[in-house]
């Protein structure tokens, strides 16, 4: 049984901070299909469209009928353990630094035999397991076997914690605590066992409902942060960047209009200044510090979360300038992901549908409750996801966007 994780001891400031050595990241182009699905939390394997055979390892032709018509399809992951081993020696630095390390050989009910990272609660050959795909610290998908049914404290397993960014015992910065979503995020991180939640607030004179109760939580510390002000960001980074394990950037300006509905560029400029340049300023100040602490003990720096919008994928004309700023932020977030990857820091991009807040007042339901979105963010961190599309609207847009982004654009121009 997994032992519950104990609160890590305070770091000895005299000792050197260990640097990150990533696990092996080389994969063939075909095998990256596993990673694309794992980034969204799904186990997908290639299935032959001619004979139905499930393939593993990833390949270019069906092992049963030699067809080239292989498609990535979601799998339940149900299977059983064939054999297990505990490695006491590894040729790779990442694993060498984490020995002993458990591996398993699993047969899926769907047929294939998989070499997997093995959860500590899976011990006996024949034991049922649920195989899933997770991103490892290199951002590449690996298959892991979990106990089925689930076991107490299973999230605290050493291997599983390496594959995710569980907030438990981690120190989190939420860049804007004033909005309903910001407050929900803070509560969700406290509930998930975060050690400290630093809560940014740009305008201390504003008194908002719920904020006093929030700031009374023992884990919460209010910090002045205005992402439009480079000096404000730099000053906060100077204080806490060396301690933050997870940055959640939810600061945003959202005005509901397109091009013709409002004269001038002031509102659009404000959106860009917070939604795009705010991310840039935060990333420049906090990014390097996170990278430097990505192997710093069991609660090492782990993740950067961007609250984007499903409008980042395709412009929604009634919210046209906002959508444009989120598209810009999405593009910059891809750059940030590439720059953080060598250190093993995960960049999680969240693409929610409309949130049930004042700026979406005129949109019809379904709208995403701030609490539900906050829970989705925390769950994505626990599951180690990279791309998250919470809510029914986001899921539907995503499906349409995948089918044909040009068709979606025309549908949105016609009203939705």
């Amino acid at each position: 049984m997994t032992m519950p994780l104990m609160r890590p001891r305070r770091k000895n400031p005299v000792l050197r901070t260990p640097q990150m050595n990533l696990p092996p990241w080389a994969r063939g182009r075909v095998a990256l299909g596993l990673t694309a699905a794992a980034a969204e939390g799904r186990l997908e394997l290639q299935v032959c469209q001619d004979c139905g055979a499930v393939q593993y390892p990833p390949r270019e032709a069906c092992h049963a009928c030699v067809s080239a018509r292989l498609r990535w399809r979601a799998q339940s992951g149900a299977g059983r353990l064939l054999a297990a081993t505990t490695l006491h020696h590894s040729n790779d630095l990442f694993f060498r630094e984490r020995l002993p390390w458990r591996l398993g050989l699993v047969q899926l009910d769907a047929g294939a035999t998989l070499v997997v990272h093995l959860h500590g609660d899976v011990t006996a050959p024949g034991q049922p397991v649920r195989v899933t795909a997770r991103l490892d610290r290199a951002g590449r998908a690996v298959v892991i076997a979990l106990p089925d049914p689930e076991t107490p404290h299973m999230a605290d397993d050493k291997m599983l914690r390496e594959m995710g960014c569980d907030p438990k015992f981690r120190k989190v910065l939420v860049s804007d605590g004033k909005t309903p979503l910001g407050q929900a995020l803070v509560r969700a991180f406290v509930a998930a066992g975060a050690d400290i939640v630093w809560v940014g607030h740009a305008e201390p004179w504003k008194k908002l409902p719920g904020f006093d109760a929030l700031s009374a939580l023992p884990q919460v510390t209010l910090v002045p942060l205005d992402v439009t002000d480079g000096r404000s960001v730099a000053e906060l980074a100077g204080e806490i960047a060396g301690k933050v394990d997870i940055v959640v950037n939810n600061a945003e300006v959202h005005r509901a209009h397109g091009i013709a509905a409002r004269r001038g560029t002031d509102a659009a400029r404000a959106e860009m200044d917070v939604n795009y340049f705010g991310l840039l300023r935060l990333a420049q100040e906090f990014g390097p510090a996170l990278k430097g602490r990505s192997a710093d003990g069991v609660a090492h720096a782990a993740a950067w979360v961007n609250l984007l919008s499903i409008y980042a994928l395709a412009n929604f004309p009634p919210h046209g300038t906002y959508a444009a700023s989120k598209a810009a932020a999405h593009s910059l977030a891809q750059c940030l992901r590439a720059e953080m990857r060598p250190a093993g820091i995960r960049v999680v991009n969240v693409f929610p549908g409309p949130v049930d807040d004042e700026w979406n007042q005129n949109l019809p339901p379904p709208k995403l409750a701030p609490d539900a979105l906050a829970r989705a963010v925390v769950q994505a961190l626990k599951d180690g996801l990279e791309d998250v599309y919470p809510g029914d609207v986001a899921q539907e847009w995503l499906e349409r966007w995948r089918e044909d982004p040009r068709v979606l654009e025309r549908e949105l121009a016609a009203g939705g």
């Binding site: 696990p23 092996p24 990241w25 080389a26 994969r27 063939g28 075909v30 095998a31 593993y56 390892p57 990833p58 092992h63 064939l82 054999a83 297990a84 081993t85 505990t86 490695l87 006491h88 020696h89 590894s90 040729n91 790779d92 990442f94 694993f95 390390w101 591996l103 398993g104 050989l105 047969q107 035999t113 998989l114 070499v115 997997v116 990272h117 050959p125 490892d136 290199a138 590449r140 690996v142």
Partner: protein
């Protein structure tokens, strides 16, 4: 079952001149250096001129980006028959089998079968991650233990199914060390006791230190020609009584419990007109002890699952009840890459030509060589076997 044409025998073929380029743990030389030393040793031992070699097989993992054809220009050879066989533990049997057919068909008259690999500090690690596409995508990112983890699965599963204990594998390792010391191994100078075997540190449980082979650099080579040619040259030789190979057999077994020999075993013994009981010694590929167990079962010395009982019933020293890996095998000499897949052939040749100094199996007339190689994902794909005999 499809009707298969009866395969022809290997009459008239001689295998001779086993040469070994001494193994070293690490070398600053490249694979070509070891290949060159091996070919030179073949020429010096046989008395042939370089131009007499008109067939060549090359087995190497550290030759990249070159293949066998690069070896011809590097060494100034001009063969009319060429093959590239980097197939690990099956390389020796596969080279022998192909060369024998080339000689029988007249495509070549003297085939040099050469296996060589170098081993630089850190080159083993670099090879593991690029050994195959499946290894890169589906095994190396899982702990990067190399084959140890995969053979740990295979061994653990075998132990659970057959009741094999670590002592059973240990007995084999102890006897192979005794064989190695009988002639003087380069790497190991002390006997191994069963207690030392059992007390060794774990590597990937149930694999412990003495279940693993040590990567090293070295080369092995032999010549294949007609019996007539060997007699004319005055070379001591062995005849090919039969040989088989099979790849990716039993692919529906979820975990490897057997090699492919059983598919073709009746052919092997029928070609030789012999039974397993007639075999005087076995040179089995031994990257891990469980693989030897599977060869004992697969090659007809005992039934599947009876390996442990066979282990308990026999001694495997050169003077024991079942002489096995009489030079000490890779477990007691190191694994020089693909040359490890030639060691079994060369030791059989030395036994059958009376060159097994200090470890000669008395009255050896028929020997069996087992080849087993190439874990591209979760199991060994190549299996082969050759029955070699003394000339009539």
């Amino acid at each position: 079952m499809a009707v298969r044409a009866r395969r022809q025998g290997y009459e008239g073929v001689a295998v001779c001149v086993p040469v070994t380029v001494p193994y070293v743990r690490y070398s600053t030389r490249g694979a070509f250096w070891f290949l060159g030393r091996a070919v030179r040793a073949l020429l010096e031992t046989s008395g042939l001129r370089k131009d007499d070699i008109d067939g060549l097989t090359v087995s190497s993992f550290s030759l990249a980006p070159d293949t066998a054809v690069g070896v011809t220009q590097h060494l100034g050879l001009s063969p009319r028959w060429l093959d590239h066989l980097p197939n690990g533990g099956a390389s020796g049997v596969m080279a022998l089998r192909r060369a024998a057919r080339a000689v029988q068909a007249g495509d070549a008259s003297v085939v040099a079968c050469v296996a060589a690999d170098t081993n630089h500090v850190d080159s083993f690690r670099l090879m593991l991650g690029s050994f195959s596409q499946f290894a890169r995508d589906a095994t190396y990112p899982y702990g990067s233990g190399g084959p140890n983890a995969l053979f740990a699965f295979i061994t653990a599963n075998y132990m659970a199914r057959s009741g094999a204990r670590r002592e059973d594998f240990g007995r084999l390792c102890v006897d192979q060390r005794t064989n190695a010391l009988a002639w003087g191994s380069r790497f190991f100078r002390k006997p191994l006791t069963l207690d030392e075997y059992l007390a060794a540190r774990p590597i990937a449980e149930p694999i412990h230190l003495f279940d693993c082979v040590m990567p090293c650099a070295g080369a092995e080579a032999f010549l294949v020609m007609s019996e007539q040619r060997a007699r004319d040259l005055g070379l001591a030789y062995a005849t090919v009584r039969g040989t088989i190979e099979r790849h990716n057999a039993f692919q529906d077994d979820p975990v490897m419990v057997r090699g492919g020999w059983r598919v073709d075993l009746p052919d092997l013994y029928a070609m030789a007109g012999a039974r397993p009981a007639d075999v005087d010694f076995l040179q089995a590929y031994d990257d891990y002890p469980v693989i030897v167990m599977m060869q004992l079962e697969g090659l007809g010395f005992c039934e599947p699952g009876e390996g442990p009982a066979f282990m308990r019933a026999h001694r495997f020293t050169h003077d024991g009840s079942f002489p096995l890996n009489t030079s000490g095998g890779q477990l007691s000499s190191g694994q020089a890459g693909a040359a490890g897949g030639f060691m079994n052939v060369n030791e059989a040749l030395r036994q059958l030509t009376g060159q097994a100094v200090g470890r000669q199996v008395a009255g050896a007339r028929l020997g069996l060589v087992g080849g087993y190689g190439m874990v591209t994902y979760d199991r060994c794909l190549c299996t082969g076997a050759a029955l070699l005999g003394t000339p009539a």
